[in-house]
Amino acid sequence: MALFKTITIRTPESIELEFVLAGIGSRAVALMIDYTCLGLGLLALTVLYTFLLVQVLSMESVLAVDSNTVQLWITGIFAVLAFALYVGYFVLFETLWFGQTPGKRYTKIRVIRDDGQPERLVQATLRALLRPIDDTLFIGFFSILLSQREKRLGDWLAGTLVVQSDPNTSGQIQITERSQAIGKDLLSLTDLTKLSPDDLATMREFLQRRSTMSSKAKGQISDQLARRYRDQLELERLHTEMTTDTFLEALYWAYQRRSED
């Protein structure tokens, strides 16, 4: 069962691109983070405004101009600034970061155009302008929930989609020199074609994520995987003693080496 909707976009050059839609949960989290940032910005602006106003009032006797005029000016300027912050936050970030805001970056989603191109100023502005309407009475929420391509009104108007950005393969895998040496042995010793790319992916996942696993589970999985690949490769016995983790590291290194050649 597919939990996340996948859509395929055919570009004018007839290249098919596949995207996974962002999903309402990630969009809700992104919205929460962005509104928190925005709220903090508005709070800072209000504090600054109050501070300035108090300063102006205390300097009333020194200034030649009527303080009422100055107060009105300050209020006016800050009202414009607050509006600019509210609209500009989304427009600016989405334009400069190619469809991402701080919230979207955290949740690893991004806005793209219907044809798969990156979002531009026009689309970002349209989305931002319809945001207040989408927020009213959860119109955007229901629209995302009920539409096939998870679009809110702003997305319909701007012709955009919100998709998951490529999972960045963070978590570098450290392979010790000893494992590399064993890997070299493995290359000459066995036929690594008996392992599939799926097996490589599993090894990679394990090596990337092992540091966050509980030690007991780590040992179990490591043991299980090492046994399986040893049997798959028909390795009866290895000449050096090693931990299962070292074996997996060596195997991973060797497999990658092999596919590079």
Binding site: S26, M32, T212, A217, I221
Partner: protein, 325 residues
């Protein structure tokens, strides 16, 4: 091309937003069985409460016929004790049935779907453990509440006093005092919420553990929930917030809007009674609708934590069907 994304259909660890999306997706796909379980669970709980009230009422009636006012009070007390039994039974049933929803969503995630009936049959022998779990959680929350109040008082009070002292010396007493009170209150409320949410996150998946893992009893499930959530507290807080945000439209329609609307009705005891009944029924409907979402979130979160901490997804990739449950 990232092979890990394309080669395997088994879901790995999820980020908080995806936990909620996946839960909502499961809920939509399995709307009927989930809502049935949820309704049944709620009926058991309400049934327990009604039974308590009825037993108390009947005993008060009988005893007051037998003797005077004193006997009626005695009857009420006995009724409270006797009526508490059906309430306990009802709440255990409530726990069991709602945990069954979590188990169903988990078994969907690991591609070993089960029927509602099979799950209920499997869980029924554990009914007493679910009751015990409810009791344990109750104790944990009481303790958490006390700790939270204490921590809030100490931290908020300290900050308030210090800022009030410093500021009233620097500026003037009333302004400094007011500022100190406000700051202390904000910190106090913050600390209080943080402690409670922290404990809530650590115990969040306990009943799902009890429902899914075969050899667990109430206290070991609680321990397991505590253990699995150890490094994920912040992520779970975000899951809470996102789920809360998503259930808001439903709660809005069933709970908040009607009570707003009903506030404008004329003052009249008949209308009042009617509107109260209506709003109680509506909020019950709301909680029946929302319960499966939270339970599905628990199921998905359990899967996520097992993948993260124990590599469940890596295990599942190769071992196709030799029975995990």
């Amino acid at each position: 091309m990232n092979p890990s994304a394309s080669s395997s259909s088994q879901l790995g660890p999820l980020n908080p937003g995806d936990v909620v999306s996946a839960a909502l997706r499961l809920y939509r796909d399995r709307f009927k069985p989930y809502i049935q379980l949820s309704a049944l669970a709620t009926v058991w709980l309400i049934g327990g409460i009604v039974a308590l009230v009825v037993v108390m009422g009947v005993l008060i009636g009988i005893f007051s016929v037998l003797g005077g006012e004193l006997m009626a009070i005695l009857g009420g007390l006995i009724g409270l004790v006797v009526g508490f039994l059906p309430l306990l039974y009802g709440s255990a049933k409530y726990y069991l049935l709602s945990a069954a929803i979590g188990r169903l969503s988990f078994s969907d995630l690991v591609s070993q779907p089960e029927t509602t009936l099979a799950v209920r049959q499997r869980l029924n022998p554990k009914l007493s453990q679910f009751l015990l779990m409810g009791f344990l959680l109750f104790l944990v929350y009481i303790a958490a509440y006390l700790v939270a109040v204490l921590a809030a008082l100490i931290s908020g009070g300290a900050l308030g006093l210090v800022t009030a002292g410093i500021l009233s010396a620097l500026i003037n007493a009333p302004a400094g005092g007011a500022f100190g009170v406000v700051l202390g209150l904000i910190l106090g409320v913050g600390v209080f919420l943080l402690v409670l949410l922290w404990v809530l996150a650590r115990t969040f998946i306990a009943e799902v553990v009890l429902a899914i893992e075969p050899n667990q009893d109430a206290s070991s499930s609680l321990g397991r929930s505590w253990d699995l959530t150890k490094t994920s507290n912040w992520r779970i807080q975000i899951v809470f917030l996102a789920t809360f945000l998503i259930q808001l439209p439903i709660i809005m329609v069933t709970n908040y809007l009607p009570s707003l609307f009903l506030a404008f009705l004329p003052d009249n005891s008949a209308v009042f009674a009617l509107s109260q009944t209506l709003s109680i029924i509506l909020s019950l409907v709301g909680s029946i609708l929302v319960l499966p979402l939270w339970q599905a979130v628990k199921g998905v979160l359990y899967y996520d934590l097992r993948s993260r901490r124990e590599g469940l997804d890596l295990e599942l990739r190769h071992q196709s069907d030799d029975g995990l449950l």
